[in-house]
Every structure is written in structure tokens, then in C-alpha cells.
Symmetry: C2
Subunit: 206 residues, 2 copies
Amino acid sequence: MTTPTGKVICDITISADGYSAGLDQTEERPFGDDGGDGSGAGLHAWMFDTPDENRAEIDRLNTAGAFIMGRNMFGPVRGAWDRRWNGWWGGDPPFHAPVFVLTHHAREPQPMDGGTTYHFVTDGIVSALDMARTAAGGGDVTVLGGATTINQYLAAGLIHELRLHIAPLTLGAGTRLFEGVPPLELEQLTARAASRVTHVTYRVST
Amino acid sequence: MTTPTGKVICDITISADGYSAGLDQTEERPFGDDGGDGSGAGLHAWMFDTPDENRAEIDRLNTAGAFIMGRNMFGPVRGAWDRRWNGWWGGDPPFHAPVFVLTHHAREPQPMDGGTTYHFVTDGIVSALDMARTAAGGGDVTVLGGATTINQYLAAGLIHELRLHIAPLTLGAGTRLFEGVPPLELEQLTARAASRVTHVTYRVST
Ligand SMILES: NC(=O)c1ccc[n+]([C@@H]2O[C@H](COP(=O)([O-])OP(=O)(O)OC[C@H]3O[C@@H](n4cnc5c(N)ncnc54)[C@H](OP(=O)(O)O)[C@@H]3O)[C@@H](O)[C@H]2O)c1
Ligand SMILES: NC(=O)c1ccc[n+]([C@@H]2O[C@H](COP(=O)([O-])OP(=O)(O)OC[C@H]3O[C@@H](n4cnc5c(N)ncnc54)[C@H](OP(=O)(O)O)[C@@H]3O)[C@@H](O)[C@H]2O)c1
């Protein structure tokens, strides 16, 4: 791997059994069978119900110079882009930076307010990372999810730092972080407990 | 579930991807493909390399009034008991209490020094728990592992408290805690980071 200026970070909330989303995601239930109403509320209770306790971790989420996500995280559209869909985050998304969306279905870039532009990348994870690194300048690149996307980057040895937020529930099924990823040596950098979540940051040996 | 006097606790070390042992366990490699020499040294570095930092968690491990474990944790013998095997823990095991070993292969109880007796239970997890509860008097019962055994107790709603020690490595394959267990609501009771492990204790809603 070439010496990076910024880091490639993965930041994701998982259940105690390692899932970042349940099965059967739909527009009404973006997190699928998540043990609740499909909104991911259980997984993300730490963000929405106890934001003050977790301010540092929440603020850190969106500070990268560029972002990468999978198409299923971006939205519920599958197959061809047969309808207008500009992400879950409204007209002024919290990213304020380029977001590279992995997909097999080409689409023109979609500029939004506040500095966010969605770019759709059809030639794979390395290409998306190259573009994100360039866009980030010397800044960090954050891979936001879902697990399908993160696992590809982990398997390719392209993640430097893994920021996990472990929520107090299990899902039993869904898309699982680390699924199919070969063994990794991790170094535990920090770990911190709040009332409804345990935050753990690992350095990944690549 | 009847009102218990003591608690039923599960205490286990897992990798960041949820495995408590690798594949292909043998006598020479009791933890199988664990990313190292098969001794579980990577998973248990927190116990063996940094015991002072983790004194409370180590001491708490063996304080129950009775223990339950699966036959694969007890040793490498599979099928009939065709040779003498009295556990990995020598003549004076650290349990100092009855240990109920789940197996399909009947065997007479095996008394050891220091108060440990291994009892071999062939009629299932509920029977083993009943006997362990009786043996523990008002004390706690700890289910020590492996994951195959713990998962059965979790699926049956028989565990009150889950004490996890999350080690900084991933195994990629093996026996996984929570595998096949239906969704659980957990309450995070405590979480504490040491330098090479994150300890998290959950109350399980049953
Ligand atoms: N817990 C959290 O913090 C968190 C974070 C993020 C997301 N989530 C949840 O996770 C779920 C989505 O995760 P997921 O794992 O199912 O999917 P995902 O990683 O978001 O997206 C997977 C999709 O992205 C496209 N894709 C991925 N890699 C590609 C590649 N190398 N080349 C081309 N296209 C590629 C493919 O879509 P096409 O083939 O259709 O183009 C693929 O089906 C959602 O429920 C979301 O809400 C949770
Ligand atoms: N990381 C940790 O803290 C930790 C803790 C404990 C163990 N371990 C490791 O985990 C591995 C063992 O775990 P494991 O999940 O493979 O197996 P396990 O749970 O220790 O043992 C499974 C075996 O126990 C017997 N058994 C289990 N449930 C039974 C039931 N309801 N009725 C009758 N027999 C039953 C069966 O043996 P038979 O059919 O052969 O009789 C079964 O194959 C070992 O490598 C051990 O070193 C790690």
C-alpha cells in the first residue's frame, strides 16, 4: 500500500453479534429486521437517545475529507435507477464533502447543498478509494458502510482504522461485519463505554 | 423460568468478529486455527500477558458455585471415551466446585483435588443446569463455553448475564458466539477497557 497522507477509516455501529443491519431492507424499513421498526433505532439509540454522552464519537463521524458507502446504505433502489433517489439525508446532507457510492449501475454525479456531491462508482473498491483519496487531499477517507462494502475493504487490506460502536442487542441475522474477511491482527487504540454503547477503535495491521 | 437464587452467567473471551475458537481443534491445538499456535494465546493475551490490569475479571471467572462446559472445551477426545482425559487444568483445577460437562457419551463422575468434580451430563442443557443450580446452592452458575454450549443456553433463554472479553484480533472462522441464536435484548451493565481487551457485561432479557 502506498504511504497515505490521511487515514482510511471505517466507522460503523454493530450489534453485539456483529450485524450492522438486519435482513429484508426496504424503503420503509431501511435497516430491515433490526429487532424494532426497521429504522435502525435500536442500533443507533446511542446516537439519538444519548447524544450528549457520545458527542465526540458523533462529531467524529462526519469529519473526513471524503466518504465511501455502498449503494444499499445510500438507499433502497435496487437494479436500474428507475426513480429519483438522493440518499436518506435530505437536501443538505451531513457529509459536506464528496461521497463515493459503490454500485453496478452508472449514474451522473448528484450535487447537493452544503458541499456534498454523490459520485457513483462502477469500477470497484480500489477505484472508489483512489477517487476519495484524491478528493480528500491530505484528509481522512471514511468508509461508512454497510458491512458488504466495509468487508471488501478489510479483505483487501485497505483500512487503517476501525471505529466500532457496539450496541446492546443482537440481531441474529443480517449483514455482518467481518463476514468472509480473513483473520486480522488488530491493535486496540481506545475503548470507552457510555450507557448504551461501547466504542472501540482498532488499528488494523495491513 | 423459575426465580433463581444465584444467577446463570456466561463468561467467555471472543475475537472482535465473535469467535471463541478457531476451526480444527486438536490436542496440540486446543483452540484450532486461532491465528497463532492453536493455544488460544492471542485470544487470551489479556489474561496471560496483562494479568494485573485484568485482575478483577480473572478473579471473577472461577467464583461460581458450579460450572457448565461443553465436551470440546473439556478436552480433545471425541466419540467414545477411549482414553483417560481429565481436562486441561491438571490435578487441582481452578474451579474448586462441581463442573458439569455436556456430552453424548456417558462416563462416571471424576473427582479431582481441591473440590472440583467433573460430572458428565448426557441428557441435555436443562438437566445440566438443574444439577448445577442444586450443586451451587444459592450461588451463581457459570457457563464457561465453548460457543456451541453457550449458544444453546442463550437460545433457550437461560442466561441472565453475559460477560464478554473482546480480544483485538479476528479469526475469520470457528465457533461463533450468538451463531443461530434468535435476537436478544441486552442491557449493558458495565464496560471497561484494558490495554488489550474490552470487557463488556450485559444483562440478558429472558
Ligand atoms: N449500522 C451502521 O452503522 C450502518 C452503516 C451503514 C449502513 N447500514 C445499513 O446497512 C445496510 C446496507 O448494507 P449492505 O451491507 O446491505 O450493503 P452496502 O454495502 O451498503 O451496499 C451493497 C451494494 O453496493 C454495491 N456495491 C458494493 N460493492 C460494490 C463493488 N465492489 N462494485 C460495484 N458495486 C458494489 C452493490 O449494489 P448494486 O449491485 O445494486 O449496484 C451492492 O449490492 C442498510 O440497511 C443500511 O441502513 C448500517
Ligand atoms: N474463548 C474462550 O473463552 C473459550 C471458552 C471455552 C472454550 N473455548 C474453546 O472453544 C472450543 C470448544 O467450543 P465448541 O463450541 O467447539 O464446543 P463445546 O461447546 O465446548 O462442546 C461441544 C460438545 O459438547 C457436547 N454437547 C454440547 N451440547 C450438548 C447437549 N445439549 N447434549 C449432549 N452433548 C452436548 C457435544 O460433544 P459430544 O457429542 O462429543 O459428546 C458437543 O460436540 C475449544 O477450542 C475451546 O478451547 C474458548
